[in-house]
């Protein structure tokens, strides 16, 4: 058993760290904080993603010819740790790079791979993913947006919701129902849709904290060329569940991100007093901080176990879905502590509100627990 990193991985860390310290400006970090509220911030973040990609530090897990650098799993882990700790912005196309690109690599044509993917990494094109619908939330496979074949085209009608950056996107990976007669998982297909096509309307969806990171996207008789199909017809559910075999260190971002938040919180608590006493000498507050610190450390170690298992053929169990729900709960508890102590601080008030999404987005904690119960623990389905 060995928790340390090999020397060559530490060398990779050193190179990345030195590139980040030379290139990551306060301007960029500031733009990251204004993300979702300020159009100028969007342009700054886009330029940053291009700079990262041009320096060879974008999509590090991808093959070189597609704009990545073929990083090993441990290098990916270190990449997530270092970029997060340096407070580098998460790429605008993070959903595209993590969720859409794997499907394009697996099912796309060579032309699609070579034209779409490098532009995705540079944020030349912004990507969104059309999955959730008003009537298809946790029950995603019940989606209703229809695509009907008409000559060389599909004609698409329907509505998507919770589409990240839908109002900014150039491309959409769209899930549509192509066979209404088939059972619900079997009649879905995946299309790559140009968001400038006539009949598409994207409206910003303002969330409870006033931010507009999401959109509702409406499709009204949109004609999409049939060659926009990604993967076989009616095999959209398999496309959606394609995972990137060489992108296995994403979990590292979870713990690194929450470690950074904990450090930020302690920095904000320093100098703060309650009843003329420093809050960092208050035993109750120290206990709550200690509780967060232990759980965050254990989340980190859980993620590393998962990565070790994939590297060495161990049993990964359900650690990935476990890590996600632990991370979500930690994010909420951290924001709750911050709000309880620093109630009027604008950033933490916002965080107290915005962290409600952590246990909803990407599968509610309740859905995740149900999956863990049946698939990992072997409990019977109803």
């Amino acid at each position: 058993m060995d928790f340390s990193y090999p020397v060559e991985v530490e060398q990779f860390r050193k190179e990345l760290r030195s590139w980040l310290s030379a290139n990551l400006t306060d301007d960029v970090k500031d733009a990251d904080r204004r993300r979702g509220r300020d159009p100028d911030a969007f342009d700054t973040l886009r330029a940053w993603d291009a700079a990262v990609a041009d320096a060879g530090w974008g999509a590090v897990s991808w093959p070189q010819e597609l704009g990545g650098r073929g990083a090993t799993v441990l290098e990916q882990l270190v990449y997530a740790e270092e970029t997060t700790r340096a407070r580098a912005p998460v790429p605008l196309n993070v959903i595209g790079m993590n969720n859409i690109a794997p499907a394009i690599m697996h099912y796309g044509t060579d032309t699609q791979k070579r034209t779409l993917l490098p532009r995705m990494v540079r944020a030349d094109d912004i990507w969104c993913q059309g999955m959730s619908e008003p009537e298809a939330g946790s029950d995603l496979a019940s989606l209703r947006t229809r695509a009907v074949r008409d000559g060389d085209d599909f004609v698409v009608n329907g509505q998507k919701v919770w589409t990240s950056l839908g109002h900014r996107a150039d491309w959409c990976q769209l899930y549509v129902r192509t066979d209404p007669e088939a059972s619900k998982h079997k009649g879905i297909s995946c299309l790559i849709v140009d968001m400038r096509l006539p009949g598409i309307e994207a409206r910003p969806l303002v969330t409870l904290n006033g931010a507009a990171d999401f959109a509702e996207v409406f499709f009204n008789d949109v004609r999409v060329r049939a060659d926009a199909l990604l993967g076989p017809l009616d095999a959209g559910w398999q496309v959606a569940t394609t995972t990137l075999s060489h992108e296995r260190a994403g979990a590292a971002r979870l713990y690194a991100q929450i470690e950074v938040q904990l450090a930020d919180l302690v920095a904000d608590l320093a100098g703060h007093t309650i009843d003329d006493r420093p809050v960092l000498e208050d035993r109750g507050t120290l206990r709550r901080l200690g509780d967060l610190a232990v759980r965050i450390n254990y989340l980190e170690l859980l993620c590393k176990r998962s990565i070790s298992a994939t590297l060495h053929g161990g049993d990964a169990l359900g650690s990935a879905s476990l890590a996600k729900s632990v991370w979500a709960e930690l994010g909420q508890d951290l924001a709750a502590l911050a709000y309880d102590v620093l109630g009027t601080n604008e950033r933490w008030v916002d965080r107290r509100l915005s962290t409600r999404s952590l246990t909803i987005a990407g599968g509610t904690t309740q859905i995740t627990k149900g999956i863990t119960a049946t698939r990992v623990l072997g409990l019977p389905r109803k």
Binding site: D2, L74, V266, T285, G290, S308, A309, L377
Partner: protein, 362 residues
């Protein structure tokens, strides 16, 4: 980075598991020893020695296996899973590490390894007895396994500084009184030393005592992990077969979520504890210490696995006849050991703040 057990470690785990299943089951072995002050029998102790479990941490030159805390953790987890009530943690971990960490002469280590000696350690926390010439006087609170022990090792203040002393627990001037506490599978004693004959084995400077305390905490954490993991699995298997409303109760979401909550706590604890076991031998002292603090700080959460398991069992889990309460008591004993989790949560919080302070100052 490789966090998987080696083939050798898996073989050790399987050997211990099989031995306990055959010779020391809960119904046939643990329950009859609940009221026994030693918690051990010659046959099972010899068996543990024969499979190498008592000498796991004893260096090769003293006829031990010369392994690390990772292997000790593998054994501890199996013993916790079986609710083993004997003095293994005291002798094979606490005493063996006390002798190795202080560099004391190895005679006793060979006896620990082959099982002819059973040792325990007092004075790790609280007030220390005082040495006066070749005798010790003072009180030791909550020392484990004194009735089973042939040797009582004591950390005591002497004229030449803190030292590790050896005392015959049956000698004059030693009074051991069984201490009532929640977990009948761990035997605790309050010991009064009144001019008890003692031999100074080695110096025991503070950093050595701190390291030894961390070792004991970390090994006990692995024991508790075994207990939590087992009671969780028992509850999950029960939820698959217990039927109400014409279906297995494990098909109800409310019950499923209780099971996943247990699984989450157990897997988080496992992640922290295997790291702590590794850190006990391989990390810097500060990191090892923090890993031990975290394990104790998480003990309350781990004990809740016992609570939740009883909830899944329902009424049967509330009976004396069912084993669930023995697991809960093992976990509650761990939670209370060397102070309640709140104290450790506060310590981890304090460590966090000072660590971030140091980074700012750099």
């Amino acid at each position: 980075m490789n966090l998987e057990l080696t083939e050798e470690q898996i073989a050790l785990r399987d050997t211990v598991r099989q031995f306990l299943a055959e010779k020391a089951g809960v119904a046939g072995y643990v329950r009859p020893l609940l009221d026994d002050s030693t918690g051990t029998t010659d046959g099972v102790w010899r068996g543990l020695a024969d499979i190498g479990a008592t000498g796991v941490l004893v260096p090769h030159e003293h006829n031990g296996a010369g392994m690390t805390m990772v292997e000790a953790g593998v054994v501890a987890e199996e013993l916790g899973a079986a609710l083993y009530p004997g003095p293994w943690l005291s002798s094979a971990v606490a005493a063996a590490r006390a002798l190795v960490r202080t560099g004391a002469d190895g005679g006793l280590l060979a006896g620990i390894a082959d099982g002819t000696d059973i040792a325990t350690v007092g004075g790790l926390s609280g007030h220390r007895p005082t040495a006066n010439g070749a005798t010790l006087s003072g009180e030791l609170a909550a020392v484990p396994d004194v009735a089973a022990a042939t040797v009582l090792l004591v950390i005591a203040d002497g004229p030449d500084g803190v030292g590790l002393y050896s005392v015959d627990p049956l000698s004059d001037g030693v009074t051991a009184t069984a201490r009532s506490h929640v977990d009948p599978t761990h035997k605790l004693f309050d010991v009064a030393l009144d001019g008890a004959a003692a031999k100074r084995l080695a110096d025991a400077p503070n950093d050595v005592v701190d390291a030894l305390t961390d070792d004991v905490i970390i090994a006990r954490a692995a024991d508790a992990l075994g207990a939590a993991n087992t009671v969780m699995n028992l509850a999950i298997e029960y939820a698959k077969v217990r039927r109400q409303f014409d279906q297995p109760i494990g098909s109800f979401q409310a019950v499923q979520h209780l099971c996943v909550d247990m699984y989450e706590s157990v897997e988080l604890a496992r992640s922290g504890i295997i790291h702590a076991l590794w850190a006990a031998d391989a990390a810097k002292p500060a990191d090892r210490h923090l890993a031990a603090l975290r394990a104790k700080a998480f003990a309350g959460r781990l004990a809740s696995v016992g609570d939740t398991a009883i909830q899944v069992f329902g009424g049967i889990g509330f009976t004396w006849e069912h084993d669930a309460h023995l697991y809960l008591k093992r976990l509650l004993g761990w939670s209370a050991y060397l102070g309640a989790p709140d104290r450790y949560l506060e310590e981890v919080g304090t460590e966090l703040v000072s660590e971030l302070d140091r980074k700012v100052l750099q």
